[in-house]
């Protein structure tokens, strides 16, 4: 924007009255330029969220909802022990999935950025990472079911090799399978931002660390990790928000046996209890925003980018 203004300024010699007029058109054109985005955000983000907050105070019958201002939905939600166990479960999934995706994502990004020397190979291997994303994530998730099942490939292979005598029941329809699916689905969201920040680290910093006698591990903890923090944060925000907002992965991979907040909401919607679904959504939104606020305390992303 400022570059553009500068270009106009240098191109045309300014008459006396121009600064004032240009000031006005600047403001106007600025607002006009941001208007489409403003409208989109207003109608498709702010308005729906406002609606959700409003409806969360409404009442519901079996088949209809009626405007009201009552705290019944929140009261039921916040006094039910199920709510707390479900939120706890949601946080558990988020924390474990985050730790696994971070470990795997960081390792992959590190390998790509520092061990693969040529740019061509880096790009080629990076594209290989994205291949699974050519199919829908529902398909990627469901394909685990026949693999992990009682008579699935994993169990029959292990039995064949004599590792186990009886099929492992906990492979499917358990917390394990839910988290496995999350890690599989969302690791790339960690790889991309971390790889991106790693690529921008000046290689001479690593050489300097090496020249000063730092071991590989010291270089990692003192140079690379601090400099990739913004990437880690962005990846973490992706993974945490995706896992906390999910319902379909939990439903399929746990065989409907486990619950997270998303499933509470989807059950309410199926039973036409929109106000109660809205109240749960509002609480979830607040929780996720708090988590992100905490994450942002660690790194000032604006500054780092």
């Amino acid at each position: 924007m400022s570059d553009q203004t500068l270009a106009i300024e240098t191109a045309a010699p300014a008459p006396e009255s121009k600064p004032a007029r240009r000031g006005l058109s600047d403001a106007l054109s600025g607002w006009l330029l941001s208007l489409p985005l403003m409208l989109v955000l207003f109608f498709f983000l702010l308005l729906p969220i406002a609606m959700i907050v409003v409806v969360s105070f409404w009442g519901a019958t079996e088949f209809s909802i009626y405007p009201a201002f009552q705290f019944d939905n929140y009261e039921f939600l916040l006094t039910s022990p199920v709510t707390y166990s479900v939120f706890l479960n949601t946080v558990k999934y988020a924390v474990i999935s985050w730790a696994c995706t971070l470990l795997i994502g960081f390792t992959i990004a590190y390998f790509l950025a520092f061990h693969v020397r040529s740019l061509v190979w880096q790009i080629a291997l990076f594209l290989v990472c994205t291949i699974p994303f050519w199919t829908s994530n529902i398909i990627r998730m469901i394909s685990w079911i026949p693999f992990l099942g009682r008579n699935g490939i994993a169990n029959s292979t292990l039995i064949q090799f004599g590792v186990i005598d009886r099929p492992l029941e906990w492979l499917l329809y358990s917390d394990f399978s839910v988290i496995l699916a999350f890690v599989h689905l969302y690791t790339l969201f960690m790889v991309v931002p971390i790889f991106n920040t790693m690529m921008r680290i000046d290689k001479s910093l690593i050489e300097a660390a090496y020249d000063n006698g730092a071991t590989g591990f010291q270089t990692l903890t003192n140079v690379i990790i601090p400099l990739t923090k913004p990437g880690i944060m962005i990846g973490s925000i992706f993974v945490v928000t995706l896992v906390m907002g999910d319902f379909i992965t939990v439903r399929f991979m746990s065989g409907s046996q486990k619950a997270n907040v998303g499933r509470l909401i989807s059950n309410d919607i199926a039973l036409l209890q929109y106000p109660s679904a809205c109240a749960t959504a509002v609480i979830l939104l607040i929780t996720v925003l708090l988590v992100i606020a905490v994450l942002l305390r660690f790194v000032d992303i604006r500054k780092e980018l």
């Binding site: 088949f63 099942g149 009682r150 329809y173 065989g255 409907s256 039973l271 209890q273």
Partner: protein, 430 residues
Amino acid sequence: MTNKNAKTGVSRRSVLKGAAATAGAAIGSGAVTGFPTVWAQNIKNVTLRQFGTGVSNLNDVANKVKEDLGFTLEMTALDSDSVTQRAATQPGSFDIADIEYWICKKVWPTGNLQAMDTSKIKNYDKIVGIFKSGKLTPESTIAQGTAPHSVGFVDGPGGTRFAGSETGWMTLIPTIYNADTLGIRPDLIGRPISSWTELLNPEFKGKASILDISSIGIMDAAMVCEAMGEVKYGDKGNMTREEIDKTMAIFTEAKKSGQFRAFWKTFDESVNLMASGEVVIQSMWSPAITAVKSRGIPCVYQPLKEGYRSWGGGIGLSSNLKGIELEAAYEYINWYLSGWVGGYLMRQGYYSAVPETSKNFMSENEWGYWFEGKKATGDITSPTGDKLASAGDTRDGGSFHDRMGAVACWNAVMDENRYMVRKWNEFIAA
């Protein structure tokens, strides 16, 4: 800087004002639509919009209507929750509602449906007793739950209260119904199963499943608890809070001890659980058994001594229907009961409301297998051509009278429905 901000504040406000004005104009112009109804049209130009669950909303039916009656029937298939919602909240969006009887109990009070004059229905006398007096034969006892006859009649054309006996004004014309029970894998169980209690038998730990649709799942759970002798119910279709608590406590305990492998919500999930051997005993629907069998895997729709949990659906008319469209709707209903659709549905394993007329559209072998419970004399195929049984096979559960005569409970909506739903959610989250 400050100056600039002040200016932009002004322009933003004016921009928003403009936007609001435009939006207002757009909404205003929307109200000026709507066309005068043309009454002089021929019945062939009538289009009736029907919606309902996937079971009976078949394109084959719409095609046959066009062929036999000449008018157009538009079909929309939805899941049962959306069906309820639409019938209750969008009366202008349909002419014919294909809903279940328990949904009717929920929706009728909204006044979105109109009662039907039974004198205009030619085959009314031949409709099975279940839908009129509630009794299959004069000696039958009426099952618990939302029995179809109890919500099948109202006291007059504009009636909003259910009459409970035949009045000449019907809420829904019954179309399709069946008796549900547990499905089992006889090859993996290897012994006879005869009671609902087997669902919670520790022998099948980690190999059982129940459906995660609260209103139906709670019924299956109640059948189990009653058979175990743990809970005595006044009416399984209308439980008290105490009965709901006891039922869910038993199932929560079973869940925590690992009795269930998974819960299922859709037809496909139930088929996959059974076919893959993850589950050997579970609540199931009749066509799902057929789907497992068609993969060459043995699967039985096991009749149990405590009886069946049954369900029924019917078509209701929108209160907006009048004039020639209403006439067309009556014609459609009369056609529906005249046999072709009944034969089609019975060859899928459901029952038709007027079996006598359906018989004319089925071969002797098909009628013997599906309705009379006799051994098939040749291959039994579905209306779409898939082979379902070979010569010598008999239908699980036997004849129509054996199956529908042993109904213990109808799908229902309880007075304590919201409480039940919350308890069910707790069970799932436990």
